[in-house]
Symmetry: C2
Subunit: 207 residues, 2 copies
DNA sequence: GTCTATATGATGATAGAC
DNA sequence: GTCTATCATCATATAGAC
C-alpha cells in the first residue's frame, strides 16, 4: 500500500509538501471537490510531478488516511484500564478536544470521508477502529459494573465524546457564525468537563 | 430566489421528484460529488429537462437548502420559554434525535455544506440561525440564572445537542461499523436523556 | 415541456523532451 | 526527477427539433 521509501532529501521534502497540501485541500473540499491542480499548486510542484510521487489521486488520499490513523486513535489508546476511571474518561475527553483544536483539518478530512459512506476508510472502521473501541468499551463497562462510575452505555459514551469534540472542528463555520470571534475552546472544555463529569456520577437528580 | 410557482400537476410532480432525487444524491456525495446525470436519472427525467425546472445545479442546491431550513429549525423553535425548563430542554433533545433518525439525508446534506465552509448556506447561518440561537440561549440563560436548572453555558449546551443527535445520522457508517446491525437509536435516546438530565441538575458530584 | 445532439470547460492521467 | 504539451473523459449547460 505504501510506496517505496524516498531516498533523497528533496524527495522527503517534496513528499511532505504534497501530503501537507493535500491534507489542506481534501479537508476543505472533500475528495471529489479537491483537484490535483490545486494540490500541486499548494505544494509548489507541477501536476505531473505530483503524480510522480503518488500514482493517482486515490493513492494520495489513501496515503493521508494511513498517516493520520495513529494520530487519530492515540487519545483513545491512552485510556488506561488501571487508572482512575473518572480521570481516565475525562482525560480522554480533554485530549480529544485538543486534537480538534490543534488538528481541525485532519478532523474534517475524516468527517468528509465518513459522511460520504467511508468509501476508502471502511476497512479501517470495521477493523482497527472496531477492535480498539470494543476493547475500551469493555474497560468502561467493567468500571461501570464495579460501581466505580455510574451506569453508562460505553458505546454511546464514546460516540458522545467523538461527536462533541469533533463538532468544534468539523462545524467550525457554524460555531463561528454564532459565537463570532470568541474562541470556543475554553468554554467548550469547561462545558464538556461539566457534562461528562455529571453523567459519570454514581447517580443523578431526576427532577 | 425561488422560481415562479409550478402550474400543472405534472410540473408539481416533476419538481418534487427532482428535489427528492437531488436530496438523495447531494446528501450521499456532497455538492461536487453529485452529478446532474445521476439526479436526473433518479428523478426519471432527462438532464435538459431537469435544467428546465432548475436553471443550474447551484439553483437546485439552493432550493433544497431553503426547503429544508424550516424543517431543520422547527425542533428548536418549539422550545417554550414558558414551559418547565428541564422538560423543554430534554424535549428538544428528543425531537432533534428523531429528526436525525427520520431525516438522515437532510442531516448529511447540511453537514456536507457546513463541513466545506458553508459556501451557499453561510448567510442563513449568520442570519436566521444566529437570531434563533441567540433568542433561545437567552431563555436558557434565564432559566439557569433563576436556579430552575443548574449553571450551564447555553451556547455550548445547544452545540452539544446538535453534535450528539446529528452524529447518529452524519456518521452512521461509523456507528454501524462498530455496533453492527443493532439499531442505535433506542440506546442513544436513553443515553442522551441520562447525559443531559445529569448535566442540568442543580449541582453534580465532583468526585 | 421534453427530447437528442452538442458546445464548452474542467480534470485525472500520460507522453516524451530535458 | 521535473517540466510542457496533450489526451481522454466526464460534467454543466445550451441549441434547436418536435
Amino acid at each position: 500500500m505504501t510506496k517505496s521509501p524516498p531516498r533523497t532529501r528533496i524527495q522527503v521534502r517534496n513528499r511532505a509538501a504534497i501530503l501537507e497540501a493535500a491534507l489542506e485541500v481534501f479537508a476543505a473540499r472533500g475528495f471529489r471537490g479537491a483537484t490535483l491542480d490545486r494540490i500541486a499548486q499548494a505544494a509548489g510542484l507541477s501536476k505531473p510531478n505530483l503524480l510522480y510521487y503518488f500514482r493517482s489521486k486515490e493513492a494520495l488520499h489513501l496515503a493521508i488516511l494511513e498517516d493520520l490513523l495513529e494520530l487519530w486513535l492515540a487519545p483513545l489508546r491512552e485510556m488506561d484500564a488501571d487508572g482512575e476511571p473518572r480521570e481516565q474518561i475525562l482525560g480522554y475527553v480533554r485530549r480529544k478536544l485538543e486534537m480538534s483544536r490543534d488538528h481541525p483539518r485532519e478532523s474534517r478530512l475524516f468527517a468528509n470521508e465518513i459522511l460520504q459512506g467511508a468509501p476508502r476508510a471502511r476497512p479501517v472502521l470495521e477493523g482497527e477502529l472496531k477492535v480498539l473501541v470494543d476493547e475500551k468499551a469493555a474497560v468502561i463497562a467493567a468500571w461501570s459494573e464495579s460501581g466505580r462510575i455510574g451506569p453508562v452505555d460505553p458505546y454511546h459514551l464514546i460516540f458522545s465524546i467523538w461527536a462533541l469534540t469533533q463538532h468544534y472542528a468539523d462545524f467550525e463555520v457554524q460555531v463561528r457564525a454564532i459565537m463570532g470571534k470568541t474562541d470556543p475552546y475554553p468554554g467548550a472544555e469547561a462545558w464538556l468537563d461539566h457534562l461528562f463529569g455529571a453523567a459519570l456520577g454514581i447517580s443523578h437528580k431526576t427532577t
